[in-house]
Amino acid sequence: MSDRDLIVGLLKRAERRSRANRVLKNLAAAASISLLIPIAFKLLDLVFLFRGRTVVLVFTIWGIGSLAYLFWRIRGRETLADVAARLDRKAELHDQIKTAYWFIRHPQDSEWVAAQLRSAAHRTAAMDLNQLYPRFVPKSSYVAAGLALLLIGLNFAPLPWNHNWVYLDAAPAFAFTDAEQALLKEAQALLKKAAAQDKSQLADKVEEIAKELQQGDISVTDAINQLKEIEQELDEGNLDLASIDQGLEEIAQNLGQSQRLESVADSISQHKLQQAADQIRRAGDQLQMGSAEAKQMKAKLQEAAENPRPGLEELSKDLDDAADALNAGDEKAVQEALKKSAEEFEKLAQKMEGQQLKNQAGQRLQNVQASLEQRQGGSPSPGGQTKQAQTQSSGKPQQAGGNSSQQSSPSESADATESGAAGENDADNPQDGGGLMPGARVGTDAPLFGAPTKLDVELQQEQLTGQPDGAPTKEEKDEGESQQARSKLDYRNAPSDLSPAQKDLLNQDRLPWEYRQLIKQYFETIRTQPKK
């Protein structure tokens, strides 16, 4: 290897080493400086809860900026002349390498120049690059590592509102409260259960709406509207449960007069339709044609089949067929007709169960919707409240077409509307009702169900039996006042239009605000009725 090659080779190696050290140093410095930004951003996130898009945007800008800064720091490349000068300074060579490199680039036919190159080459051969350019870990890299750990640590800070960016988790565009999440989960579970019967995809839709709302793809208003659409879908094709209940009750009354079908009637009355189906099958199997019992059974079946209620036409027809078969003395036809009746009972049981699930799901979605409306800054929509009131009171809106006793009275509807309108006042005074306030972080309070019910109950003055002089003792006075202040009617005994299933449904709910409608109905019941 020539002297020139030796010198140039050393310079190139030194340049690479120098560049590597410089890049490492600048990288660490750039990292330690630029990491301050995401740390500050993370600290702000603990206060302001940035959305995922914001986080991604900031990190993208930060990444680009950091890369640009790093590129700016490490841009350029030292020339070999620069490296030679640096080597001279480091090794105190009095410009030997620098001069040699200059003579390499500007060759001269001189014995002295050759001697200079030889001397420089001899010197470079003895040089230890590791000593001149030692590999080192820059101090700023420790700072950068510390800051990176701090950033990661902040993500794992055990704060309820902290979002871990390491797991790509950022604050959603919209955060459901715990209560709303619970309601949504329940609604989805109920819809999935109902979907086993009607194969609907409503549970997925609800999940999708919640997801889109959380991601900011849709606004709260859109979500409310979509929830309303789902509620409408749930309402479509609803059974007239009240009418069916009434019809079943009538059938049970008729069948209960038959000795053979008494157990069936009891099961129907108790809404145990599956059990009723089994019992009516057994009744058909055990029936002795021509007996008095059969005649009685025929008459009651015929009565039960008369005037079928909507939704019970098939059942009435099967019962009628059974009566006809009994009349004809065709045992086989009787059994066949009763089996069909049993199947109809089973179908009815399934339909009613599905309907109940949907109603429950719809009710939870309405609650979510009301909560969202309230958080949006307004009050639950009057229409929604009216519908809610109707649903709460009768189980379904279509119930108005059924028994007149179960119809929502105009005053009731008006009250419901009024309560919805009054809800706006509630929004103005969010301290009332304990509902979710706009901007509330965690949903520990229940959403409002409209305005509080106005009580216009007039206390009934009771005459107290006291001492002859008419002056009551202190105990009597206290007791009397206590009695006057207390209603004599327990709310559990208040007459209700709700079916047992609906009452049962209400009782199953553990959330206190679920009782509000029942309590409201109680007060409506004890309200002084206007004189006709």
Partner: protein, 330 residues
């Protein structure tokens, strides 16, 4: 390193060392001054020694003259000294045939080593008699030019300008000196040695260790030392920084300098750098070499303006500031 180059450097260092050693037998201390004087001689330049009377300037030069095997002459500059007293003059002579002819009578300038003692005591007109000799190594008298024998080396001493009866050297004269060396008072230890050497019966004797051929050979060696362009440009930048009219001038130069160093200044820096490189066993000139000789080679070439004179600015401070401000080339 090739043998020839190696040998040349060794010879150079050896002869330089011998000469310095012999001078040092008589001159105590002043190592840098001795180096500067010998360097100027080897650079084919002349040296101006400045110092108050009694510091051994003349003795230094006479000792050097003793060390080199060359013709030596001394000119004591006085206010009434005439140029012809230096260069020589044509005198009327009678030939053997009885004919009257003009014959040139060489002055003391016709020597190898000329001591111009207290050169600033003569008038500028007389001082200027040295100009041609110092630059062109020749003397013109009448219509005839006489070549001086090589090597020709002028060592001038001068008293500080503040002293009575001195005439400042003309700029052209100053520029012809390779170096201006300042002779300061010796240290106490040096003074003690001086007393020991000069107040006893025995006086140190010096040997002649350098002859003219050797000096010329050494001069050739100096010129052979290569210098890289960046180092050369470094010397140029230093020189340019002394010019107040140039954008690259140093702030101090712009304020206090009337006239910057001439190209001879940069030549002197490079030649001085080469000698220093050889003395340091190097075959190339470094920026350190340039810096080391910058003060001695530039201080008399940088002329102060009125403000500089009034402020009593030392040109050394300006040159030092320039050296500090100009980075080494990569």
């Amino acid at each position: 390193m090739s043998t020839a180059v190696d040998r040349e450097i060794e010879d150079f260092q050896s002869l330089f060392g011998l000469a310095k050693k012999e001078v040092a037998k008589v001159i105590v201390g002043y190592g840098d001054i001795i180096d500067g004087v010998i360097m100027s001689m080897l650079a084919n330049g002349h040296v101006l020694l400045e110092g108050v009377p009694g510091l051994g300037k003349t003795r230094l030069v006479s000792t050097l003259a003793d060390v080199v095997h060359l013709k030596f002459s001394r000119i004591q500059f006085t206010p009434d000294l005439m140029p012809a007293d230096i260069t020589g003059t044509n005198v009327v002579q009678e030939s053997t045939e009885g004919e009257k002819i003009l014959e040139f009578q060489p002055g003391p300038i016709f020597a190898n080593v000329v001591l111009a003692d207290e050169v600033n005591r003569a008038t500028p007109k007389t001082q200027s008699a040295l100009l041609e000799a110092m630059e062109e190594n020749s003397v013109t008298v009448g219509k005839r030019t006489y070549k001086l024998d090589a090597p020709f080396f002028v060592l001038a001493t001068q008293n500080p300008l503040e002293m009575e009866g001195t005439y400042p050297l003309p700029e052209a004269q100053l520029d012809r000196f390779f170096m201006k060396l300042r002779v300061d008072y010796p240290t106490a230890e040096g003074l003690s040695v001086i007393l020991n050497r000069t107040t006893q019966l025995e006086t140190p004797k010096v040997s002649r260790v350098l002859n003219g051929a050797q000096i010329l050979g050494m001069r050739k060696t100096v010129r052979a030392v290569p210098i890289a362009r960046p180092v050369q440009e470094y010397a140029i930048r230093i020189m340019m920084a002394t010019h107040p009219e140039l954008p690259s001038a140093h702030a101090l130069a712009k304020r206090f300098v009337r006239c910057g160093a001439s190209p001879r200044g940069s030549q002197a820096m490079v030649i001085g750098g080469k000698i220093r490189a050889l003395l340091n066993n190097r075959v190339y000139v470094s920026c350190d070499d340039i810096r080391a000789v910058a003060l001695a080679t530039l201080r008399h070439r940088v002329l102060l303006n009125f403000e500089g004179e009034a402020e009593r600015i030392d040109t050394d401070s300006i040159i030092t500031a320039i050296l500090d401000s100009i980075p080494e080339p990569n």
